[in-house]
Amino acid sequence: MITLEGVSKSYSTGAPALNNVSLHIDEGEFVFVVGDSGSGKSTLIKLLLRELLPTAGNITVNGTDVVHLKHRKIPKFRRNIGVVFQDFRLLKDRNVYENVAFAQRVVQIPSKQIKKNVPSILSVVGLAGKYKAKPRQLSGGEQQRVALARALVNKPPILLADEPTGNLDPKNSWEIMKLLEEINSKGTTVLVVTHNREIVNTMKKRVITMHKGIVANDEKEGLYNDEV
């Protein structure tokens, strides 16, 4: 589903953010990517979204050669990837329903279909009763669920989560992780970048540890590893 072969990324200043990284993630896998700040996790996400191009190497996502992807084909490619962020990135002037419907409008789903899909995905994330609420009226956990609903409403085969529990308390963090696990169990490939040791150690999923731009460790049913 996701393959990186000898991928390096250098910015104009400083050391390379990624240095000759190779890894493969199968369809339906659940993977944690852990590492210190500056280890290259965010660069990895940006490369997978084709927000950045690598300096060297090849990237394939869902059968698409990302490096040689033509600019006009980027939007269609991104529709295969749902993405959630630490800061939720919700539209503050729109309610829950509109935030989720927005993702469908952007990809030009007919209005009739949107009216069916949005309540359905909101019930999956447990927010069916709060569709009229504005983001500021919701807790952090609820806001992240809205973001999750928005990422999933277009049914992408891949979900990227960049520190999804970074702004949440332990209880809400676990709820979000359970949701991600549930989504994964239905076939979506999930890649979670996180600093949350407890979650990583408890869930016993594949853990890719990054350090100074390289893959320092890659373990099935791994643990959060500080000693790299």
Partner: protein, 301 residues
């Protein structure tokens, strides 16, 4: 594009205007001011040209024929002249008409003494008065007339012709220059308004990119915003000009009665036949151009 997407895009464009209502108002006011000045310029230039055209109609070239030129030859030459592209129309003045005209104008009651001799003193004075399409073409026509053998003399008024065509050209250049500057300023202002709109909606745009929106989808609301601002900016000055035009003309004629004897102004409907579509196209065009340049520069997924 789906109809529902079109409606959504249009609504977003409209919302953008209200979200940055002060900047939108500033843009509308500036475009409005530019197009108002354009409208005023156009009205002045159109009236000026109308008046000049009226004056040109009075400027004629007169050709006289050599002695003993036959009536047939004169008629033939008349046809040749009439077919020239520079010529609007011609008027034949026979020797008798020329003499009667001269008598009426200069001799009055003393004319009888001249008549008594029997012969027409102006017997070789049958002529054509030639009226031009455009006085600036007078030189070319005169050159042609001088090549016709049966023509004895060509009377022309160089000063009037040159002055009229010169003023006409000057007014044209000055107004095109001023309008070009105003339009440039308008494009710049629209671009600024759209840039601010983009800055305000930076987060929304970044979310759109992650979700998989196309450049076209992200850019369209901003372009619609620009076009709407341009359109509204064009409608206001048109309405004002429509209302004040007649009042100004009435005021000028009433205040400067001396002018009204030789100045004729265009009716407002004649002005609007050109001004309305041109202003709307300019307003919408400025809006489109300003916003399109800006979104191309700032928004790329």
């Amino acid at each position: 594009m789906r109809f529902s997407t079109l409606i959504y895009t249009f609504k977003q464009g409209l919302k953008n205007i209200f979200r940055n209502k002060w900047y939108s108002l500033a843009s509308i006011a500036t475009i409005g001011a530019c197009l108002f000045m354009f409208g005023i310029f156009y009205a002045v230039v159109a009236n000026f040209q109308y008046i000049v055209k009226g004056a040109q109609d009075g400027v004629a070239v007169t050709v006289f024929f050599k002695e003993e030129t036959s009536e047939e030859t004169i008629a033939e030459v008349g046809k040749l002249i009439e077919n020239r592209p520079e010529v609007s129309h011609i008027k034949y003045v026979s020797a008798e008409e020329a003499w009667n005209g001269f008598k009426d104008e200069y001799l009055g009651e003393y004319a009888e003494g001249f008549d008594a001799e029997g012969d027409n003193p102006l017997k070789d004075s049958s002529n054509y008065e030639i009226y031009l399409q455009d006085v600036s073409q007078q030189g070319a026509l005169v050159k042609y007339l001088e090549t016709i053998e049966s023509i004895r003399m060509v009377n022309k008024s160089d000063i009037t012709a040159n002055a009229l065509s010169g003023v006409n050209r000057l007014v044209g250049y000055v107004s095109v220059g001023i309008i070009a500057i105003l339009l440039g300023v308008s494009v710049f202002l629209i671009s600024n308004t759209v840039t601010i709109g983009i800055a305000v909606r930076k987060e929304e745009i970044s979310i759109m990119k992650y979700i998989g929106a196309t450049d076209f989808f992200v850019r369209s609301p901003f372009v619609i915003e620009g076009v709407l601002i341009g359109f509204v900016g064009a409608v206001f000055p048109l309405a004002i000009i429509y209302v004040v035009y007649n009042n100004i003309i009435a005021f000028v004629i009433e205040r400067f009665t001396v002018l009204s004897n030789f100045l004729k102004f265009l009716p407002v409907d004649d002005i609007f036949k050109i001004l309305l579509p041109v202003s709307i196209v300019l307003g919408v065009g400025i809006g489109f151009l300003g916003s399109y340049i800006t979104v191309r520069k700032h928004i790329r997924v």
